[in-house]
């Protein structure tokens, strides 16, 4: 039984690889966009300009209140209606995950910036640094350590949440797995494989995050 299972996986490898590419593609793009977006969000909210802060807060709360799957549906089914845009599922997923990821990453960046003693900002200002220099040379470098472990956690969640893309019709690794099951009925094997796949994609990141946290918290 086991050998025929592995054989099946071996035979299906090319299709599964395609699916894996899709799934990881969504995750990777979302991670990159979230990181960039999150940095911008974190710095912007740290500047203390009322209306920007308020706007970003509304954005955050919207993405926190409404579950990601609902957002996926809204974008996938709603955009064609509201704006006449028909975005393929893959890019819909990337878009939604990026927006959600950016808000979560942004909060991490913001928290890290806020945890830096106020005196650092004042010392930087007192030697005449401008805002850009203040953030670039003094605040963000110090925030980097504090924000990396939580940021990695957000990225892990992004990888897990990318699994929802199958529900808006994206032909990702889950869909391909389900197609294989339709032909072969090997549900335990395939879902087991998917289970292991996601675990292998996420666990190393979690482990690294924990190691970094332990090492840097003792500095």
């Amino acid at each position: 039984m086991a050998s025929s299972g592995l054989e099946l996986l071996w035979i299906s490898a090319p299709q599964l690889a395609q699916g894996i590419g899709r799934t990881l593609g969504i995750s990777a793009l979302a991670i990159v966009f979230s990181a960039v977006g999150g940095l911008i969000y974190g710095v912007l909210r740290n500047l203390g300009i009322r209306w920007i802060d308020w706007l970003l807060l509304v954005y955050l709360e919207l993405f926190r209140a409404i579950p990601v799957l609902v957002w996926l549906y809204l974008f996938f089914f709603g955009l064609p209606i509201f704006l006449g845009w028909s975005i393929p599922g893959f890019w819909c997923a990337v878009l939604v995950l990026s927006l959600w990821g950016a808000s979560e990453t942004g909060e991490v960046v913001r928290g890290a910036l806020r945890s830096i003693p106020r005196g650092q900002r004042e010392a930087g200002l007192s030697i005449g640094l401008g805002q850009a220099q203040l953030y670039g040379r003094v605040l963000l470098p110090q925030a980097l350590r504090r924000m990396t472990p939580p940021m990695i956690n957000v990225f892990t969640r992004l990888i897990k949440t990318s699994s929802l893309a199958v529900l808006i019709g994206v032909v990702d690794v889950i869909k391909i797995g389900q197609q294989i099951i339709e032909r072969t009925y090997e549900s335990v094997l395939i879902y087991g494989f998917l289970f292991v796949f996601f675990f292998l994609a996420c666990y190393p990141l979690s482990a690294v995050s924990r190691v970094l946290e332990r090492r840097w918290n003792h500095s």
Partner: protein, 221 residues
Amino acid sequence: MEFDVAFALSTLPAFITAVGVTLQVGLIAIATSLCVALINAAIAAFQIRPLQPVVRAYVELARNTPLLIQLFFIYFALPALGVKVSGFASAIIAMTFMGGAYLTEILRAGIEAVPRSQIESGLSIGLSRWQLLRHVVLPQAGILSLPALFANFVFLLKETTVVSAVAVPEILYTTKSYIALYYKTYEMLAVMTGLCVLLFVPLSLLLRVVERRLQHGQFGS
């Protein structure tokens, strides 16, 4: 763009039921997850050697895999092994599997967050290990964990949308069905969004209030 108010209103009864299902699934999952977490916390606190690695493995597996896969495995794969489960049951089992792991970590963090000085004070007045746990560590760990626990409860409620994938008639599934039946996409999306906002925004705000209150109590200022 026309908004068919009459139609939207006519679907409300079905959606109210759907909200009921959401709450059902969510609340049961919260309760069962909490039980799992308490058992795991007990294993850690009493240092039951043989079971500790099992708990660790469980937590890592459940936290590093998506709920959807856990759900699909239980709903689609288990029948092949002879275990038939309904959509509702798989939803509960999967959410307990995931939720239990998250809550276990929170309780563990809560126990570790109790300051060492508290334990030393307890030991200095001669408390036994069990008394220390019962009177000093667990009460404080509980309070320290509350904000994170509530946050996870809200998270679990939101994750119920995922179980729509196995035909559990909660909010999202109901929306999908109605869109498929009547093609009133705009109206259904609006109702769905409105319900989600009504349901989850107050919870978010409540969570903030709870967090602030508990922090005050903790540091006595």
